[in-house]
């Protein structure tokens, strides 16, 4: 039996023990979208007890890839990779949710989800000297979401890290194609990106989803990247990283992005950095670290089922309000975008660190 078939079989006999952890189940309040429901439906399709229809296969897309259920499950049953495998089947059979195919169509035109080339956006903002040349070893890869929605963070990151920018025409890792189940296009993009990424020894990024995609998913598509990957929070806490000055700031709450937390187990570095500049640890959400609740932006859910994605973001926003913090800090541009969409003052980690640092310098200058 293939791994994803074993996984669906296990879930189909389970009394839904991880359901409490699944934000989609929480939002839709429906058995069919619990991890058990989605996996059992796929098993029934496999066993030909359920017809393969767009409605049923749509259940494979009702997942954020957040891995919360895997962490709640004592068998660590890989639910989201199994559902990803069924997305590929659904996509091939033209049974993905209605919005997915047009989304991929749009993606293919510019190799990102934004309907325009993103390298020129960077070129307009930054002088040529800030782009990596042939001799660069370490580069900063901002990823399409940061470029399109939060370029101020890219600017601050370059300043703080003093790294050159990734200079290639394709500025997207292709995760949206992967999450759409468009494995062929994802694979092709991975191959092109692999060649470009392999020119460097180290890729630093603020986007944990890109990091996972390029480091792990490319490998499963047969395109292993030789370069080492680091998240900015890891870079900034490694030896030789630029120093940060300390200044007491207002109360901030830290949100664990799924791809940095559960996927990479990077929980402490961002917290340490926040503490370093503010003098105190961030306020914790009730659900944090391994139990962190997704922002609603993963798994292409905002495209395939926007209402569910929005309900999840609203829940996380409500959880943020309960912390009593003034500012939400997180380490992923997708999360920042989701929170801002719902009126939260949210900042990426670097944005917060640089602002804190500069406020400090300004106040020193004034003195």
């Amino acid at each position: 039996m293939k791994e994803h078939e074993q996984a669906t079989a296990l879930c189909s006999f389970c009394p839904k023990l991880c359901r409490y952890s699944c934000p989609v189940a929480d939002a839709d309040r429906n058995e069919a979208v619990t991890p058990w429901g989605k996996m059992t439906a796929m098993k029934r399709v496999e066993d030909k007890e359920l017809p393969m229809t767009p409605e049923t296969m749509g259940l494979a897309y009702k997942c954020l890839n957040c891995r919360a259920s895997e962490f709640a499950c004592e068998h660590a049953n890989p639910v989201s990779p199994a559902l990803d495998a069924y997305r590929v089947r659904a996509f091939k059979a033209d049974m993905a949710p209605a919005a997915v195919a047009p989304f991929c169509e749009k993606f293919r035109r510019h190799n990102n989800p934004y309907g325009r080339d993103l390298l020129p956006v960077l070129q307009r903002r930054f002088p040529p000297a800030q782009f990596a040349g042939a001799d660069a070893h370490t580069v900063y890869f901002p990823g399409c979401v940061e470029i399109a929605t939060d370029i101020a963070t890219t600017e601050k990151t370059l300043r703080l890290l003093d790294l050159p920018l990734y200079p290639e025409p394709i500025q997207c890792c292709g995760y949206p194609l992967f999450a759409a189940g468009d494995w062929q296009d994802f694979s092709e993009l991975a191959e092109v990106n692999r060649h470009a990424l392999n020119r460097y020894d180290r890729i630093v990024t603020g986007a944990p989803q890109c990091l996972y995609t390029m480091e792990t998913l490319y490998r499963s598509a047969g395109h292993r990247v030789r370069a080492r990957f680091q998240h900015v929070s890891e870079y900034l806490t490694s030896p030789g990283a630029p120093s940060l000055t300390r200044r007491g700031l207002g109360e901030v709450a830290y949100h664990d992005p799924c791809y940095l937390g559960r996927y990479r187990k990077t929980y402490e570095e961002p917290r340490r950095l926040i503490e370093r500049v503010s003098g105190k640890p961030p306020i914790e959400f009730l659900l944090n670290r391994e139990e962190g609740y997704c922002c609603g932006g993963g798994g292409l859910l905002p495209v395939s089922y926007p209402e569910t994605a929005d309900a999840i973001t609203k829940t996380r926003v409500a959880q943020f309000r309960e912390t009593g913090a003034e500012l939400l800090v997180t380490s992923c541009p997708t999360c920042v975008e989701r929170f801002r969409k719902f009126g939260v003052e949210a900042k990426s980690l670097v944005d917060y660190l640089v602002d804190a640092d500069e406020t400090k310098r300004k106040s020193l200058r004034r003195r």
Binding site: Q6, L10, N30
Partner: protein, 502 residues
Amino acid sequence: MNPRWAKALESALGKERVAVDPASRLLYARDMMSGGLLEEKARHEPHLPQAVCRPASVSHIRGILAVARRHGVPVVPFGAGSGVSGGTNPVRGGIMLDLKSFTRLGPIEERGGRFYVTAESGILGQHLERDLNARGFTLGHFPSSILCATVGGYLACRSAGQLSSKYGKIEDMTDAVEVVLASGEVVPFGGRLKKFPGLRPEDVFIGSEGCLGVFTRARFRVFPLPPATLYRGLSFRRVEDALTAVRQIMQSGLRPAVVRLYDPVDSLLLKHGYKKKNRSRSRSKTGGRADWHYPLLLSRPSLVQKLVERASSEALLILGFEGDAELAREMERQALRHAATLRAKDLGPEPGQHWHDHRYSVSFKMPRLFANGCYVDTIETATTWDNLQALYDGMREALMRRVLVLAHFSHAYPEGCSIYFTVVGKCRGPEEDLKTYGEIWHDAMEVCLGLGATISHHHGIGLLKAKFLPRELGGAMPLFRDIKKGLDPWNILNPGKMGLGS
């Protein structure tokens, strides 16, 4: 084909709250009754509902019930489907009434020095406890299904949690309920039943398994989080001695929060767990990987049972005390005194701590066993102290020929105690397994009824034990039928369950 009344449902609560697609219908067809899983393995077609509804308000529920009355369609209240007695299986088709959109939780209220909270019926147990803990309180209700059951399901099945010896069962914690009747009438919160004014709604509806009304919310007594918890493990040479000790402890007026006495086979498994000190606390990355040793071990259950029992007759008792630190310590001291008179060996706090850290792990064994060519089920019964040993012996004798039998005594009270049997068997062929399964339940129920023990302490009657309930209730069964007729003359609420006929 969509049922002819589907349109009426859609206009009552909106199209997005009514599902008639094949996947939704199939995924609501069974609860977690092991017999259902065996039927699934045998590829028997389940009874399917024709529609799944997700009401978000009392008026939605009333709208659904109006459609059901008009068209004579069954309505099955549905919490999270974690029931193990087939309580939600739509044996007559109809409408699944999924209540999980009822998720509001009120503030903590103080009345006469006691604390209460009002919770809607669709809240998951784990979410309720988490949110109460965040406010410094606990419901004190910790069923092994806390991760996957709703408040409505708790009420409907008279659920019992692991700390029941201190906090009681769900009915003991419930102060008031709101129920929608088949007529659409709402029994007011904390009010009285018009039709049967002498009866408290809590007494009528708690345990009625969706056959008499639909819970929408309940007010529970809650408790400040205990400042101290102490655990203790004790080893007895024989189950009988341990039972005497538990009885003495409960009848002396002590109120331990946790009382769990494991028989020799169950003790061995528990000890195996806590001796493996360096293992990760919970998760092990096994995913859906196959386990060959389960079916191998279970191919001759009676032999395994004998071998284990010959190796050890030791019974392990876990005690837990909660509350004020000094009081907890004193209760522990007194309990140890009782145990010492029965020559118990004190194992210290570690076995109890281990039990606490892994208290929900046993539920995770269920899918693994089923996925690996075995089946497992649990039979929970209860009786008075004078009858307990006979019940334990009788059940084991009836079951051991076919399956491996583990038992623990939990939910101890001054009057008596519940026994929770776990039976594990190896699959030998889908039809044969179903036959054996039927025989196991038949024999087990016969033993309970023969000895005057209850056929259910907290899992409910549902479909599984429906035909045995009239014998347990005896002269009270006609009264139960009259109440059903009086409250649901249309027989639309969960028909075919609890021995109430079709």
